[in-house]
Structures are given as C-alpha cells and as structure tokens.
C-alpha cells in the first residue's frame, strides 16, 4: 500500500464519516459543526487532488461563510422557539434506505464508467492550455472565469445579487435578529485589531496573485465576507435599515463594471464581453470581490445596510 493510496483512502473514509455525522442522528447543532468540519476536510481533499483554487474556495465559502450562515439561522430558529419536527416513521426510513441505496449504486456505476471511459487527455483542457499564454493570465481558472467563459461569470454574480434581493424580499422590510455583539469580551479588541488589517491584506494579495497563481476574486471576497461577519459579531459593524448610497453601490459594482466593460469594448470594434487586457481582468475581479463580500455580509446580517460603530 503506497502513501498516495493511503492518503486517498483515509481522506475518503474521513469525509464519509463526517458526512454521516453531519446528517444522521445527534443534535442539529452538532450536525452543523460536523458539516463545517466536513467542509474543511473537503478543502484538504481538493488540495490533495491538486486544486489549490478549489481548496481555498471550499474552505472560505463552503465551510466558513456557509457555516456562519447556517449557524446564525439556527440561532434565529431557536429565538422563535420553532416546533421541532418528530422522528420519521420506520416505513418511511425503509423506503428512503432503498431509494438511497439505488441512488448510490447509480452514481457509483456512472462515475466508475466515466473513469473507465477516460482516454487520452481532455481536449477542452488542452485547448485552454494552448490559448492561455496569449492572454497574459497565468492562472487557467481565472482565465476561464473572466476571459473564456465571461458570460457564465457575469450571470454568476447576477445570481448572487438576485439571491440577496430574494432573501430580503422573503424576510420583509425589517431588521432580522442578530446575536448580541460581544463587544467587551476579553481579547476581542486585540484580536480584531490584529486580524482585520491582516485579512484585508491577504484578500488583496489573493486578488492580485490570482492572475498568475491560484487565488482570485471569489476566494478574496469570501475572506472579506468572513471578516465582515466577525466584525458584525464583535460589535464593530452594526446592521441598519437605513439605505446608504455606498452600500447599494458596493452591492452592484461587480455586475455594473462587468456589464459596462462588456458593452464598452463594442465601441472599439471588439465583440461583446471581450476582455481588452489584463488590467480589465483585475478591474473586473476587484469589483466582483467588493460586491460578493458585501452581499454575503448583508445576507448574514439580514439587513439593508451596515454602519461602523464608533469606539
């Protein structure tokens, strides 16, 4: 048994165990914590599979931001004393078991067949590697996201914006509860003072580095969003219903810059959504980073705006 095989097997077993713990039995709070840990281990698995980009996205978005969103929703459900549903009947579990076994078999058969059918090297990936050097972008994933499949990414950021609008519509024009900030908890001031500037620095580094090596707007925005969530919980940012022009602008700047750039290049005879140069890639990524980060923080806070709290 080689080391590589041992890594494959232990990560696979660990992930299955964590998923089982997150989903079946035990208290819901424990399940949520197990789900966050599942995301962290999945990030290590992506790293092991050789994809630092996905590892970063999974750790920051899959585990960090999603975990914080689910935890605060759990806290809000506790606040309204929602009725906990009863356990399912044995008949239903039996039927579910049969369906799940069949589903597992189907996915396993399809997956193994697709592995067996792999012949030679991926054609699309090869084309990507040939076309990439001309763009001046060294990271193939950033290249695909911003240059080759820019329409997908434009629609993606539009979906994030739409999700925010829909979530606000579902909750109505009011302030959603948030845990009381632990402003004066021991060490909080020291931690915030150290972590906040470092997180901004790392986010900007990820954005800048994302052009050539793994990193990019999504990873950077997730880190900024995590920082924003922390600042809200530490009482340094306060959610408010007052509509501020800056917050609104930050919400849409990603979509706006992307659209204006995509249309603007047509004035110069380029096709729709063509990217005129590496500066445009960084500009679009920076705008997307701001938009996604502020959208995720507002989704967490369940509010229309944020304002800083004076000391």
């Amino acid at each position: 048994m080689t080391w590589a095989l041992m890594m494959d097997v232990s990560l696979a077993i660990g992930l299955l165990f964590l998923a089982w713990q997150a989903l079946i039995g035990g208290s819901l709070l424990r399940g949520i914590i197990m789900f966050i840990v599942f995301g962290m281990v999945l990030a290590v698995a992506w790293a092991w599979l050789g994809s630092p980009d996905l590892a970063m996205a999974e750790a920051a978005i899959g585990a960090g931001v999603t975990g914080a969103l689910i935890l605060v929703a759990y806290w809000r459900l506790k606040r309204v004393n929602a009725v906990e549903p009863a356990d399912p009947s044995p008949l239903r579990s039996g039927v579910a078991l049969v369906v799940a076994v069949l589903g597992t078999g189907l996915v396993a058969a399809l997956g193994l067949a697709s592995v067996a059918a792999l012949e030679g090297e991926p054609v699309a990936g090869q084309l990507l590697n040939e076309a990439l050097p001309e763009t001046g972008i060294g990271n193939p994933i950033t290249g695909v996201l911003i240059i080759f499949r820019s329409l997908d990414t434009l629609l993606e950021i539009a979906v994030v914006l739409a999700a925010y609008v829909a979530a606000r519509a579902a909750l109505g024009k009011r302030q959603v509860d948030l845990p009381t900030p632990s402003r004066d908890a021991p060490l909080m001031t020291a931690l915030v003072t150290v972590i906040a500037p470092l997180a901004v620095l790392v986010a900007i580094y990820l954005l800048k580095a994302g052009g050539q090596i793994p990193g990019g707007a999504f990873q950077a925005s997730a880190l900024l969003a995590a920082l924003g969530v922390m600042l809200v919980l530490a009482g340094r940012l306060e959610s408010t219903l007052a509509v501020s022009l800056w917050v609104r602008l930050a919400l849409i700047v990603g979509t706006l810059v992307f659209c204006l750039m995509g249309l603007g290049v047509m004035l110069f005879g380029l096709p729709l959504l063509a990217i005129p140069g590496t500066w445009a890639v960084y500009l679009i990524e920076a705008a997307m980073m701001v938009s996604i980060a502020i959208t995720l923080v507002l989704l967490f806070a369940g509010s229309d705006g944020l304002k800083g709290v004076g000391r």
Partner: protein, 96 residues
Amino acid sequence: MIDHLLAAAIVFLLANLALGLWRIWRGPTTADRMLSALLFGATSVAVLILMAEWQAIPALRIVALLLVMLAAIITITYAGISRASGSSDQPGGQQR
C-alpha cells in the same frame, strides 16, 4: 527518503485530526468543540504545508495562509453565536 518522511508525517497529522474529531463528537461542552475546531484549523495548515513540499505544489502554502486567517475568524464567529444561544454552554447541554 524525505518523501517517505513527509508522507508519514501527513498521515500522522491526519490521525491527529481523527482524535480531534472524536472530541468534537464527544463534546460535551461548547468549549471542547471550539478547541478541537481550532486544533482542526492548525493541523490542516500543517498538512497543507507538508503537502506543498511533498507534491511540489507551492500554491498550497497560500491555501494554508487562507486557512490561518479563517480559523481565527470562524472561532470568534462560533464563540459569538454559541455564547448568544446560551444553553449550549452547559456541560452536556446538547440541543435537539
């Protein structure tokens, strides 16, 4: 030789993760769970740095950097929410 050492160290660290997992599973207090979550962050960082060397993927160090930032932030977030939800602070206070 060095490759074997690195791989063995990673497997050892993964075993540490499994022990930390047992603590999260077992609890019983929020503080236990939070501390093992911190252990998870630190150990994952070590695994990633060793993996960067072993697999010759330097970018994994950036992933480790991101995890360091996130671990601190997640801990504060989790502490804030579990403090506010109160009852889970009690020993054995598992909520259904």
